[in-house]
Symmetry: C3
Subunit: 470 residues, 3 copies
């Protein structure tokens, strides 16, 4: 049976000199705490602190990076136990699903998922066997046995992972019950919420009305006007801040920014309340709310994030049957120079704002994002995101961004994951790739070793703490 | 006189460890047969099996990669013997043309053409001298002497090249006479056609009417309606299949897909028959025919290919005087996420469809194509195409595609050439670059050597046979 | 105190074999003269030949690459002594500004500015100390002492830098007084002007009317019609040529080219004269003037350059208070295939035209620009520009361009700078990166060493002299 190759020098340049430099840099940050300023872990995990039920539930079912790859090779989502919206039966035998996963493990060769899983199996669970048809059952049993132990409960892992802070993402209407429960429990782990009000901003989405009602309930404000809506939103910002929130996030198709007049806002909002808003209204409202969120951030100090350019739920059949986040979100070409101009002209010179911008369109790294972040004091660049949170992807990010924006207009690493046990794997990989990138620069005399030491520390903890005010 | 440097380690990483790994991987696939699932060799070459007339006719005149580069440096196409449409005189002294080619050989430094030609000269013709002003005549004579030998006839080369299957591309109206002749000859080489019905789909092209008439004749169907057109097309699909075809291909400016209603189809088709179709009709019809070809593929099992994004005949003077395929086709920015959505929603989840998509816009590799192929079961990615079928181009393809789509949602290599003697050179280069890419991954402990062995075999033969049903 | 690491092997591949090859190639061109065919040095520097006043005035204030990075990290431009438009007070203590620069020098880690400054400090000024909070004053004094010496006057540096020719850029209305003064001085240095008539072509810009009046005065032609405008422009082309000019340049947002009819030109021009031209008129006029400039180039032999795709003065507050060229110009996605088609169809096959095209949109290198330059005899590609004039940027340019366009459809290096003492640093860096790129190709047996020697010489001097007719 193949053993995982978790070489201590993994991911580093094969040249012995560069490799040695990379390792020296990596060693300086390897054991630093994990600062996780943006992600999608369910806080209930930590609030309940129950044992993970089984390996399939732990690893495969919550991770659309994994099951979308199996799906792409013709394995139905039903066979992988992905729950359907209408409750149609799906495979319930998790051991059987685990076998499919192990039999098809070669599909992940060379993907970041394989690198993360290797770390999880070896470092987190102490099981250095690579999944394969022949060891599927043994591995399932071994993992199952581990999960029953107290040291594999979520809080124990959180502490073992040395997580300094973990940020979880929530709708504006979210009462943050799990955060309340966490706080009440007396457990010391720092878990804070990030406000992502997308559902309340998408006027033309089927769920908008329900979200507005939930928001009204949460804020205890009757949302019958645009002003009331803004008041409710401010209420939620304050509420999230009371739970330690330092940031907001917005997922938008386009990062177009444009302030509407007060009467325009009111007119659009009334149309939406009467279910008469069209696509044009919805787009205008989102562009306006980006302006408005920046204004609010200047007032209350919450760091503003924008994650644009994903066309969600591209595959309507999968969406209709299984719902969102099933690996069917496909990036779009994205424009920042003109789209962000109004927001940056309004707030980009204001030292009170921190605006962190992400992209799925790598052609914008050197063309638009690095020049913008290399000029506007308020703007910083988020790390390589989603499909680009990978070895080659991170390298392209650094290669295309850092000569123009410098290292200090970036904000370190985000794991952005809902797969809790993969968190240390992701941070370890990012630290290695940064170390390797810097080692190559040192070996070419572009920077010296002292600079590289300062930079690797900055990328690992300093920049992220500063940018996210943690 | 400079000798060609056909180092056995060519194209591999200079690091000794990586180079050794690359060579070991390459050796495992070096002698595997050539599977050529897409290309533009004229089947008459193999049907006639005549000797190639002379070096210029063999190498330069059919290869627009070569003469467009000479043209870009101010050498008129007339001086290179490229035939004119109106029969205006061009250089007929092929030895003289050959001299121009040799004198300007430095223009190809670092291009894939130079790498392919080195292989052809050394490995195919046993002439390791690099073309130069001073050896032009001697080289011409030496090549000429080789071409007269029976072992340099097309079929002998086909067998020596170990071509398992060669696919040639033809219009829907093509009677496939050369394939009939090949079949009748009793020769064992497997040469199969691919159906490329572009000429019948471009309603506003000057040659459309003539193609429809030819199609009607070939199918023996009077094409007076859209339904008759579809029937004729199905007839040709069946006819091509009877000659072993396993695939179709479409060249489109944009991969926009959109099904028209039956009355819309009929109305547009009637306007076209009355020479009243405009650009909008033509675009709508192409978008519809992509949907229709996918439907037909689900029915009859032909693999569907799309090659979008080339603006053909950009230089109108050259087109008017010399015709198409003269090095004047220039890529355009191409969008896939929205354009393919309708087709993928209609057929992308259907296991009966294989849709192979290509691009000339490398910015779509990581942004659109890898995420799409990494999700939809029907969709696979064709290899680095045309200008990107090069050492750096293939490397970018692998770097930008494989972390998201994996290796198993790609389909191996296509030589896509009309230059018959360059076929083994192109496959050898592709195998080397894949081996080098995988060796780098092994040396960084991203994959292990066993995985790399499996993958290099898959990329060389397994994936292409499976994707193209060969 | 940290010393600069000006390693003789800097920027080269760490692999010993590749490094040795790179160094051998570099040594062959290291001492060749500097040909600077495009840039923004103020010719008054050389006409006056006065001592540079102080380090801050020499290095920081004219270099928006430097102060925009400081600004991006929250340091006000006022604190950096950048002059305001309305004369509002800014910091006048240049030593104090210098301290800010030195204290924040880490912001430039890994940027090309740091590489250039290292060369300037060590090679030009003989001061190998890296700027830092603790040596700011000492460095200021040491530099100040150097600047007072005759060997650090502009002409002495020009000669020491071995500048064969320096091209400076000027508006159409510029009387070229400094060039007249230079010529009259009897000094032998070759400094020639390049005509950049943008201000006269932007009909809707606030300064257009003033530029037209200045142009009329310079040409001594009353510009009351389009024909008179063209006559004035031709007059200035001739005037610039009389000062040795060999080229023109145009900065445009989009490279759209389209010839207007004579009546359309006249109508638009009259609207502009009456301050009634709108954005659409302005865009149409620019597209037309690209056609017209190409026509004029065919007549008078001036090489034509196009620098498209920068959205100037993105930050309006900075523009209003400090004016243009303050680091607020942000690139836009740019399209060439369709936009240049009309111009290339009209003039691209004409051997009398040399059209050098630049880009800030790297996604166009392999997709559009290399295929165009690899076909049209008139078109050549300018080097990696602005944000991409960097180590990684130059490498991407070569990797993405040279396989398709070859090396011989590129035109060597442009420093494009207004920072006079950085010129040798920039050329040295470019020569090193080209040598390193070629060494990697040699070490992979893609080209041989003899070819690499020819190419490095071509990239350093031959191609630039030929393309710019120097």
């Amino acid at each position: 049976m193949a053993q995982w190759q978790l070489d201590e020098m993994r991911f580093f340049d094969p040249d012995p000199g560069v490799r040695r430099l990379a390792y020296e840099l990596y060693r300086q940050v390897r054991d630093l705490p994990i600062v996780s300023p943006h992600g999608h872990v369910d806080p209930a995990l930590l609030a309940d602190d129950s044992a993970f039920p089984d390996p399939t539930e732990l690893i495969l079912i919550p991770d659309h990076y994994l099951f979308r790859m199996l799906y792409s090779q013709g394995i139905p989502l039903e066979a992988l136990g992905i729950p359907t919206r209408d409750g149609t039966a799906v495979e319930r035998d998790h051991r059987r699903i685990w076998r499919i996963f192990c039999e098809n493990f070669h599909l992940f060769s060379g993907t970041p998922s394989a690198a993360w899983l290797a770390y999880e199996f070896v470092e987190v669970f102490g099981l250095p066997e690579k999944p394969h048809r022949d060891n599927a059952d043994a591995l399932y049993d071994a993992l199952q046995a581990k999960l029953a132990l107290p040291e594999f409960r979520p809080r124990a892992l959180f502490e073992r992972f040395r997580i300094e802070v973990l940020c979880t993402t929530h709708a504006a209407s979210d009462p943050l019950e799990q955060h309340q429960k966490l706080r009440a429990s007396g457990w010391k782990g720092r878990v804070i919420p990030c406000l992502r009000p997308d559902a309340a901003f998408q006027l033309d989405a089927p769920g908008w009305r329900a979200e507005i009602e939930a928001l009204a309930g949460a804020a205890n404000i009757d949302i019958t006007s645009y002003d009331a809506f803004i008041a409710a939103l401010q209420n939620r910002r304050d509420f999230f801040r009371s739970f330690g929130a330092t940031s907001t996030d917005q997922g938008v198709v386009s990062p177009c920014t444009h302030r509407l007049s007060r009467p325009e806002c009111e007119a659009i909002f009334q149309r939406a309340l009467h279910a008469k808003a069209d696509q044009r209204d919805a787009d205008a409202f989102i562009a306006h709310m980006l302006m408005e969120m920046a204004r609010m951030s200047i007032d209350d100090g919450l760091v503003m994030q924008i994650h644009p350019g994903s066309l969600r739920n591209h595959n309507r059949e999968i969406f209709d049957r299984f719902g969102p986040d099933k690996g069917c979100d496909i990036p779009l070409r994205t424009e920042y120079t003109r789209n962000l101009q109004e927001l940056l002209n309004a707030c980009g010179n204001d030292p009170r704002l921190t605006l962190i911008v992400f992209t799925l369109d790598e052609s914008t790294y050197s063309r638009e994002l690095a020049p913008l972040a290399g000029h506007y004091p308020a703007m910083k660049l988020g790390p390589a995101w989603w499909f680009h949170d990978s070895i080659e992807g991170m390298r392209r990010f650094r290669q295309q961004v850092c000569e123009t924006a410098g290292f200090y207009n970036t904000v370190g690493f985000n794991d952005d994951t809902r797969a809790f046990p993969s968190i240390p794997a992701r941070h370890d990989l990012a630290r290695r790739i940064d170390a390797d990138f810097l080692a190559a620069k040192v070996s070419r005399n572009i920077i010296d070793f002292t600079e590289a030491q300062t930079i690797i520390h900055a990328l690992t903890v300093d920049l992220v703490r500063k940018a996210y005010k943690l």
